[in-house]
Symmetry: C2
Subunit: 192 residues, 2 copies
Amino acid sequence: MARSSRKQEILQAALGCFTEYGVEATTIEMIRDRSGASIGSLYHHFGNRERIIAALYLEGIGEYAARLEAGLIETLDAEACVRLFVSSYIDWVVANPDWARFVLHNRGRVEAGEMGDRLREVNQAHGERVGAILRRHRESGAFRRMPSDCFIAVVIGPCHDMARNWLAGRSRTALADVRDLLADIAWASVRA
Amino acid sequence: MARSSRKQEILQAALGCFTEYGVEATTIEMIRDRSGASIGSLYHHFGNRERIIAALYLEGIGEYAARLEAGLIETLDAEACVRLFVSSYIDWVVANPDWARFVLHNRGRVEAGEMGDRLREVNQAHGERVGAILRRHRESGAFRRMPSDCFIAVVIGPCHDMARNWLAGRSRTALADVRDLLADIAWASVRA
DNA sequence: ATAATTCTAGAAAATTATTCTAGTCAAAAC
DNA sequence: GTTTTGACTAGAATAATTTTCTAGAATTAT
């Protein structure tokens, strides 16, 4: 067995349980069962239940953030930049629905817990890198003037809501089908 | 002691604990302590921990939904209607921050749990009443054509994100100060 | 080969949630 | 005015779940 594969097996088992039964309702025993690991192994790798949740969360947003930043670096045009925000988010959700659902519903839990500081660090670092890229466009006058908090919320907020509904099976519209519409609206909302 | 005041005391105590320590970390014992109730009383009123969470959630969205619907009934103009969505949401969050934070972060938990069906019923009924009001405007051509799922997400999504950030103390901008800006953007995003 | 380290195992202990029995209290029925 | 009924409270007992702990297997480094 490859090194630390057990750790990944546990995380995958946990995500499976969380998706199927909800985070609250899954017990350590269920994760142990599905992963084939022992209690000892589980606690060796993660220390406690909460850190399993936090690890899954951090890995999820990490992958998405990396993708977004990689794309942004190559994108010089303000409009393309805004559209990339929308489309890379939608693409990630469509490609990783279980992970996306978990991440969308558990930020508060992780932030309130012992890994909260760690998460805030990671988010802040990511936010600053993205912010630096956006600042160029803002200063060049490509965007309507508004607080930067608002800018992010306006661009990605509709995607979050739409994804949440789609992931919960509440949406009659396929998420992938509204990618371009949401990108249009996002750009129209923030252009100068 | 007025009838069923104990029940409300327990709910308030629970919300206090959830705000202070997070939902995961608060135990029945902590709620018992803060409310002054006994274990027996707690279980008499709610049956289990999850139903305390669900009751708090349902009461929270209920109050907000009632306010919104009351406003919508008196609003005949399409633009005013969209602005009302934004402003009544922001006003509610500013007036009830703890409750708003709890509701924003625990929808998934309640939906996944035993009260999930009940919540979906309530949400669907609310959605249909609101949808009926919006349909008039849509059919009169006041709105840009888009799936109704998208419409809601575009109007209220930025508010959700902004509120989430503000409630978590991540926002430098006061939420009340961007109410009109968000309403402007919402209307610009959905007008024909 | 052997020492060091990481990892796995599962029983034992601790913590937390829930059930259960025994009541109190206030109002309705008689 | 007492009895009865049902809602409510109490806390001990029980059950479920998480966490700790000790021992040993597997892997890596020396």
